[in-house]
């Protein structure tokens, strides 16, 4: 057992001086004045602040390798067909991508790795812990499988040149067509095993969640229409323009929204409405938002900059921290495992030498399941 002694802990929405007892990678007890005994290794946290490890629910680390620079390390979009539901991010994931190392050094302990957004149905995503050399050992099992989808400009842009798909009409038609096929597939008694259809059946049976790339308002409405029609669990990822229409936003209050990356310039048709103000507007409407980097779009070691920029809105800092911790844990269905310092949860910590909103604060140590895995050098 390890006893993290006397740290300033981000606990139940405020800072408290507490001891954390860790056994088998999980928090066995969190309280003040836990008495150490000889079975416990003690780590002095007196000058340290302990945050729950940060979570990014939407990245491409490991499959979109930074260092390889192009083709060699780029396994993010399987663009052999616009529907590749049967492929899995896990099978293209390189744990040695420096992007993953930078994630853990920056205090991110859990990330979701998704296929890219070129395909209408891109494949299965996977949640990993950010330390390890064997991908399978890094995987965090989620209660529901994760299926990446994309609407709007990205599939249109990617496939337009290849004469497969020109308009949003066809994006929607492809989704409907494949879901209809999956319904038939489910109902057939005798059939050949089909990976694409198995994954789509999972969506129809609500054993999986669709993680839908979307930017523009018109696409958000199309997604809502289709998802309700087929009764599918889904999230809105990016949702760049959602804040621009409060009526539409209100109608989507039960759908998890993952915003970001917001610290980008170079506005395009998709990102024309991009602003940090969307965080405040949607927060005020009652959304429990999560924040993504879309790494390597923003590398995870610069993910914290988004936290600072959101702070310019002068929102309650608890709400901001939730976007990097417990809210993404809920998106992934892992709120009983990670996302806060609580008894029974994994001992995933970002240990700092001060307030995370202070630019001069460093991540001194990152712990995953009670094991030190990194920090800023």
């Amino acid at each position: 057992m390890i006893l993290f002694k006397n740290g300033k802990c981000w606990y139940e929405g405020e800072f408290k001086k507490l001891d954390i007892l860790v056994q088998d990678g999980r928090i066995k007890e969190i309280a003040s004045g836990i008495n150490p005994d000889e079975t416990m290794e003690q780590i002095d946290m007196d000058q340290k602040t302990i945050y729950p490890g940060f979570i990014d629910p939407h990245t491409h680390v490991g499959v979109f390798e930074e260092k390889a620079g192009g083709f060699a390390g780029n396994d993010v979009n399987e663009t052999s067909s616009p529907v590749t539901a049967g492929v899995r991010a896990l099978d293209g994931l390189n744990p040695l991508d420096p992007g993953i190392m930078e994630a853990r050094n920056a205090g991110y302990t859990t990330v979701c790795v998704l296929p890219g957004s070129a395909n209408v149905i891109g494949g299965e995503g996977v949640v990993i812990k950010t330390a390890g050399t064997v991908a399978d050992e890094m995987v965090v099992k989620t209660p529901k499988k994760i299926v990446k989808m994309a609407f709007g400009r990205n599939p249109q842009w990617h496939w337009g040149g290849r004469k497969t798909l020109y308009t949003r009409l066809q994006v929607a038609a492809l989704v409907r067509d494949n879901l209809n096929k999956a319904k038939d597939y489910m109902n057939k008694e005798e059939k050949e095993y089909d990976y694409n259809m198995e994954v789509l059946s999972g969506l129809l049976k609500k054993e999986s969640v669709a993680r839908v790339h979307v930017a523009n308002l018109e696409d958000i409405e199309t997604i809502k229409r289709i998802m309700e029609e087929y009764d599918i669990l889904y999230t809105l990822d990016h949702a760049t323009a959602l804040h621009t229409d409060k009526e539409v936003a209100e109608s989507l209050k039960d759908v998890p929204v993952i915003l970001g990356p917001l610290n980008v310039a170079g506005k395009s048709y998709q990102t024309y409405d991009l602003t940090f103000k969307s965080v405040q507007i949607l927060n005020e409407l009652g959304f429990k938002l999560s924040m993504m980097t879309d790494a390597p779009v923003i590398p995870l070691n610069y993910g914290i900059i988004q936290m600072w920029l959101i702070d310019k809105l002068r929102m309650d800092r608890k709400n901001i921290l939730d976007m990097f911790t417990i809210n993404p844990a809920k998106v992934l269905g892992l709120e009983d495992e990670i996302g806060s310092l609580e008894k029974g949860k994994y001992a995933d910590f970002a240990v700092t030498d001060g307030d995370i909103f202070d630019v001069n604060t460093s991540i001194r140590d990152t712990y995953i399941a009670g094991v030190s895995v990194g920090g800023e050098s």
Partner: protein, 385 residues
């Protein structure tokens, strides 16, 4: 029109900060001291606020890049038609209503130096603008020809191997530059000649009338530039300088100006693999003077400029130099330090008021003054973020 800013923490940048007042008259700073008793047309109570010179972005592509649609029809960054396009000017391709200008003024960036892109070994001539959106574009220009943009490394290779096969390797990039310099010198010697706009532009560089600013990430590219420039007896300034920390002593010894950044991008390109937040601090310790930080907007958003300074500071750059790197140093780099870059009497009244220190990334810019006029007010226009 005069404005008195009362009781702010004033950061002149070129001297120590103090709590005091600042008086603007007719677009200039006319007084800046502990207590000013003069009357002004307008008084701003800045108690609790911080007062800085407006920031200067030495390297961006706002207006030429065309952010509004991001379509080819809107993108005038790179004149791809040839590797040597010395004659073109950013000035002629700027769209004054591009959203980046508004982002910049809301972030407190009052002067923008805009370059052509980095696809060409000789890409053309940059322009410096005051970022005053209340006046017409022509009135914003403060330096029509602010620098001669050149580029080394991956970008010219990529652009011109795909586009006409004019450059395949770094060797050809160097050869194109040498040949262009030589051609201009030969042109200069001729007595009777048809006017050659390209040679005329290059001659300005060779005669020291126009500073060459060379895009170079890798240390080997930096050294190749120095080799070529030595041959022609001129001195480059560097843009990006990503591996500058590996040749810091050489840069210091030669007193070369270095603009560093953008610091927060992913390592999409091989030549930025060794990028580190420590580079500015290492350059400073080696003795490189007037280090400038750049965002390359839209590569990273222009409001990241003070965050780059803050993180460079956290990683070894002195606090004094961090502040200078986004104010007076880019002014020096552009040869405009007699007008802008610090809060000093007789300088242009380009001023920002913030609620927290500029190097605290959570600060808000409450007012941006350009030439003594309020060019942005958060109260009127809301937070721009």
């Amino acid at each position: 029109m005069s404005t008195l800013i009362k009781n702010a923490t004033i950061h002149p940048v070129t001297s120590k900060e103090f709590v005091g007042d600042l008086l603007i008259d007719n677009g200039k700073i006319v007084d800046c001291s502990h207590k000013i008793y003069a009357q002004a047309d307008e008084t701003i109570d800045a108690t609790g606020l911080h007062c800085y010179p407006g920031m200067i972005e030495e390297h961006c592509h706002i207006g030429v890049h065309g952010e509004k649609t991001n379509q080819a029809s809107d993108n005038d960054t790179n004149e791809w038609s040839d590797p040597i396009t010395a004659q073109v000017r950013a000035l002629d391709g700027i769209k004054p209503f591009d959203p980046g200008f508004k982002d910049a003024i809301g972030a407190g960036v009052t002067t923008l130096n805009i370059y052509p892109g980095s696809a060409n070994p000789m890409g053309g001539i940059g322009v410096t603008l005051k970022n005053d959106l209340t006046v017409t574009y022509e009135k914003r220009i403060i330096k029509e020809e602010s620098g001669f943009k050149m580029a080394m490394g991956e970008n010219p290779k990529r652009a011109h191997s795909e586009n006409g096969k004019k450059i395949i390797t770094r060797m050809a990039t160097a050869e194109k530059i040498r040949s262009a310099f030589r051609k201009a010198l030969d042109y200069d010697k001729k007595e009777e000649k048809p006017y050659d706009m390209q040679c005329e532009a290059i001659l300005k560089v060779l005669k020291g009338e126009l500073q060459a600013h060379v895009h170079a990430h890798q240390a080997d590219d930096i050294m190749t530039v120095l080799r070529i420039f030595d041959e022609f007896g001129i001195k480059p300034s560097f843009e990006h300088t990503t591996e500058g920390h590996l040749v810091a002593d050489e840069l210091a010894k030669r007193d070369i100006k270095c603009a560093v950044g953008p610091l927060f991008t992913a390592r999409y390109k091989m030549e930025v693999n060794r990028r580190t937040l420590k580079t500015p601090g290492i350059l400073e310790k080696a003795g490189v003077k007037d280090i400038t930080l750049i965002t390359d907007h839209p590569v990273i958003p222009i409001n990241n400029l003070p965050i780059e300074a803050a993180l460079a500071c956290k990683n070894g750059l002195s606090k004094e130099e961090a502040l200078r790197s986004i104010t007076i140093n880019p002014a020096i780099n552009l040869g405009l330090d007699d007008r802008i870059g610090s809060l000093e009497i007789d300088k242009d009244a380009d001023i920002i008021l913030t609620d927290r220190e500029l190097l605290d990334p959570t600060h808000r810019v409450l007012y941006t003054f350009v030439n003594g006029k309020i060019a942005y007010s958060m109260k009127e226009e809301g937070l721009i973020i």
